[in-house]
């Protein structure tokens, strides 16, 4: 799997027109001397045939060596390590906040009549349609420029996290909320909820003890996907809010064709995605201990 990701990325990036040696020398803007170019080509093995380069890269990857950045004058491993923290914090917090928003919205608007449900659904659809870059700018204008309550860039304290997290969380909350509402309604119409009511359970009790757990299931399994989409969002958000992170690293690397960095970041993101999928599977298993396949169904 990781191998496939590495292969696809390597060739995709190498298809991009332009000379990596130039990227190594500080981008095409600098007036490169031919001697320097030749030296760099030799140093990075760029004078080798593409296949050799590819195999070399695979060999390095196999030993956990992500290679050396063309553009950043450092090894990719330490670079990615230094950047991954910011993105993970952002992604995890955003996921958590999105969950919170979705939960609050779904629970508030369920069982309060059609108008509340309409408002809830409407808010979710609108939230899901909000482009990150637009949302980010609007938030900056309102909270930083007009009201001056929150910083528009990352800061040493947590205040700088608020706007980027909210930017990423709101559209995601829209998606999670739609799924959650759907399954919440299904759960609320199911016989076990009627049974619970017949025991004297209140609306709140029904929601928290029964329905929410069912509603959470599909949203949990959606979280793996959500994580991937958060990384996409991080590309934009980290740039706008000037946060260190993988998204910004990636965007920069792609624009200067820094192949090792692109491959390295993509590998790490793919790995994170795979891990996240495993985590969500585990979480789903925890939330829903029922056997997934036929199991004890009709046959036992």
């Amino acid at each position: 799997m990781l191998w496939a990701v590495a292969t696809v990325t390597f060739f995709a990036v190498r298809l991009i027109p332009g000379d990596p040696a130039e990227a190594i020398l500080g981008g095409p803007g600098s007036q490169t001397s031919p001697e320097a170019l030749a030296a760099v080509r030799a140093e990075y093995g760029l004078d080798q045939p593409l296949l050799v380069q590819y195999l070399q890269q695979l060999g390095r990857l196999a030993t956990g060596d992500l290679g050396r950045s063309y553009a950043l004058n450092m090894d990719v491993g330490p670079l990615v390590l230094s950047q991954i923290g910011g993105t993970l914090v952002l992604a995890v917090l955003s996921l958590a906040v999105a969950w919170l928003i979705a939960l609050v919205l779904a629970t508030w608007s369920t069982g309060r009549g059609r108008l509340a449900a309409r408002i809830g659904t409407g808010l979710e659809i609108v939230a899901a349609a909000l482009p990150h870059f637009w949302l980010a700018t609007t938030l900056i204008v309102v909270f930083s420029v007009w009201w001056g309550v929150l910083p528009p860039i990352s800061t040493a304290d947590a205040r700088g996290l608020v706007l980027p997290v909210v930017t990423l969380a709101i559209p995601l909350a829209g998606f999670l909320g739609q799924v959650m509402r759907e399954s919440l309604n299904t759960a609320l119409e199911s016989p076990f909820v009627l049974s619970a009511r017949a025991r004297g359970e209140s609306d709140r009790g029904v929601l928290w003890r029964h329905a929410l757990r069912h509603a959470a299931l599909p949203a949990i399994s959606l979280s793996g996907w959500a994580f991937g989409s958060l990384i996409s969002g991080a590309v934009v958000v980290e740039t706008i809010f000037a946060r260190p992170g993988l998204g910004r690293t990636l965007l920069n690397a792609v624009t200067v064709r820094d192949v090792p960095v692109v491959v390295g970041v993509v590998m790490v993101v793919a790995l994170a995605y795979i891990l996240m999928t495993i985590v969500t599977d585990l979480a789903s298993g925890l939330a829903d201990p029922r056997p997934t396949e036929i199991g004890n169904g009709g046959l036992s």
């Binding site: 049974s195 004297g200 209140s202 046959l299």
Partner: protein, 583 residues
């Protein structure tokens, strides 16, 4: 248990529930009410059965007793009182204090009625948590007592499991235990035994009987008179939102006054001889259920020339084999979840003589359905083979078998799922006819006319109006759907019809109509029927010969008369003992 002595207090125990002129409607005020003035009362230790068909308003009535008709419901009544206290217009909070404590509810499907994500100990414990001040450990202890009282053996072993990890019987016991946790004086049981195996059904009814004996008043909702007759003191027959007849169980069963009641009684197939009608022709609303007795296949042939050719058996016009379908030593195993191998069908053999009905009966998990699939050659048997009209069938490659598939029709339990959801009734039947007629129907306007004629003939056969042709199956009633399913099966003019639980999803009265239809078609079209059901009553009514299955094996075979009057295998005896009969 405080209610225990209330029953023995005197000849007139306290009134547990009184309902006068209950009306319930949904949606606009203009829409017709679903419940239109229902009145009844119930005393402690008494069991009142409310019996009616789907849509008769019985479930809505039941739910209204707990104030659970739903937010969209308009509920009104002259009186609705629990233990003498009016509960009309109670606030939701007040209702909550009463539910579970003053009245309990048991629903039909225990699998869905218990939260599949929570262990039953928590589900049952919820009643205690909501209405008592017991702490966690006291609640757990109490739950185990309650489960034991509900007849669950080894409650400490099962209490931590979720409903999906329990057997059907255990599950239903747990559900009843949850409703009875606080020993409410009134229990409302809405179809508590439907879809359960007969033996489990009998156990559940026994449990309810015990509960009643302890002094709890029970409102029992069902569509099946035979089931309720076992424990009900009185029966109220509900029809179109009104109670049309009330009386003691004996009165209602022996001297039904209302035609609807009589119809419902007649629909119970148990102990009704083979070939006798279950549904009166006049009681069936479908336009053409009543076939003219004189009708014969030739009559159809006159009208539809195309079908003459296809209706004539393709081969062997003279020496037709006597055995339509024969299974020889069929076995089929499935891989279980943890590498275990589950033997679903184990050395099963049977013979279906031409023109007769073989009933296969067994409880869930006995291997009936797998047997049906093997007979249809939808799965390959591990060992053994199925022969069709004396020739190879299951052993053929599918390509060769395809030509002979028209000889075998199938009728399914989940008939709705067996229809392509995009298709209308007309398209379903068109496809079915085209699938077999194939080239013979041809194109052109003549072909189209022939097709149309064939489709209307099929509709006629199963007693459906042509006006339903453009409907989609989702817009049809359960009975209509099954009729369309039968019409589709007949489209290929099969000689054999394999029916897998064709009526188990239907109300007794609709079931009666479908069974009558199958019986008529069998006689008219000289069909051989392999009829699979968990319902001994149905099997007894439709079968010439019977095979009883248990754990994948056939434990007893014989003619219907033999098996039902003198069962030899203890399992068959147990099954028969559990069959609900009209007492």
């Amino acid at each position: 248990m405080s209610a225990t002595d209330s029953r023995s207090a005197g000849p007139h125990p306290a009134v547990a529930l009184r309902v006068r002129n209950l009306r319930v409607g949904f949606g606009d005020a203009s829409a017709a009410d679903v419940v239109r003035g229902v009145s009844f009362e119930l005393r402690a230790g008494e069991c009142l059965a409310i019996v009616g068909d789907s849509g008769s308003g019985k479930s809505v009535t039941a739910r209204s007793i707990l104030g659970l008709a739903g937010t969209a419901a308009r509920v009104s009544a002259d009186e609705l009182s629990l233990a003498g206290e009016s509960v009309l217009g109670l606030s939701e909070a007040a209702w909550r204090r009463r539910r579970g404590r003053d009245v309990g509810l048991v629903l039909q499907d225990a699998l869905a009625s218990l939260d599949p994500l929570r262990p039953i100990i928590r589900e049952i414990g919820d009643s205690l948590r909501l209405h008592t001040r017991l702490d966690q450990s006291e609640r757990s202890r109490k739950v185990l007592e309650i489960l034991a009282a509900a007849g669950l053996a080894q409650p400490e072993l099962y209490a931590g499991r979720r409903s999906g990890e329990l057997s059907g019987g255990q599950r239903q016991r747990a559900l009843i235990a949850a409703a009875l946790a606080l020993d409410p004086p009134l229990l409302v049981a809405d179809e508590p035994t439907t879809a359960l195996d007969v033996t489990v059904q009998a156990q559940v009814l026994d449990l309810l009987e015990q509960v009643r004996a302890r002094g709890t008043a029970i409102v029992l909702i069902s569509h099946d008179l035979a089931v309720v007759s076992r424990i009900a003191d009185r029966i109220a027959v509900i029809h179109e939102g009104r109670i049309i007849e009330t009386g003691t169980t004996a009165e209602v069963l022996q001297n039904p006054r209302h035609a609807e009641t009589r119809r419902m009684l007649a629909a119970v197939p148990v102990d009704r001889p083979r070939g006798s009608r279950l549904a009166p022709a006049t009681a069936v609303r479908e336009p053409v259920v009543a076939h003219p007795p004189a009708r014969v296949p030739e009559h159809l042939a006159e009208r539809v020339p195309v079908s003459v050719a296809s209706r004539t058996p393709a081969a062997k016009p003279v020496a037709e084999p006597v055995i339509a379908l024969e299974a020889i030593g069929l076995s089929k195993s499935f891989r279980g979840p943890h590498g275990t191998v589950h033997r679903a069908v184990d050395e099963v053999s049977f013979r279906l003589p031409r023109g007769s009905t073989l009933g296969i009966v067994g409880e869930s998990g006995s291997g009936k359905t797998t047997t049906a699939r093997l007979a249809l050659a939808l799965t390959a048997a591990d060992t053994g083979e199925v022969r069709l009209l004396g020739e190879a069938w299951s052993t053929l490659p599918e390509r060769d078998r395809r030509a002979r598939r028209p000889l075998v029709g199938a009728v399914y339990q989940d008939v709705l799922g067996s229809f392509d959801p995009r298709l209308s009734v007309r398209e379903i039947l068109h496809h079915a006819v085209a699938a077999t007629a194939g080239s013979s129907a041809g194109g052109g306007s003549a072909g189209r006319r022939a097709m149309a004629a064939r489709v209307s003939a099929l509709l006629d056969d199963v007693g459906l109006a042509e006006s339903l042709l453009e409907r989609r199956p989702t817009d049809l009633s359960g009975g209509q759907r099954q009729r369309v399913g039968i019409a589709r099966a007949l489209a290929s003019t099969p000689q054999i019809l394999i029916c897998d639980e064709p009526v188990s999803a239907l109300d007794v009265s609709v079931q009666a109509q479908v069974l009558d239809l199958l019986d008529e078609l069998q006689r008219e079209l000289k069909l051989s029927l392999l009829f699979i059901s968990h319902d001994l009553g149905v099997i007894q009514h439709v079968s010439d010969t019977v095979a009883v299955m248990q754990n994948g094996r056939v434990v007893e075979t014989g003619t219907a008369a033999e098996v039902f009057t003198a069962p030899t295998h203890p399992y068959t005896q147990a099954l028969l003992a559990a069959v609900p009969r009209l007492h």
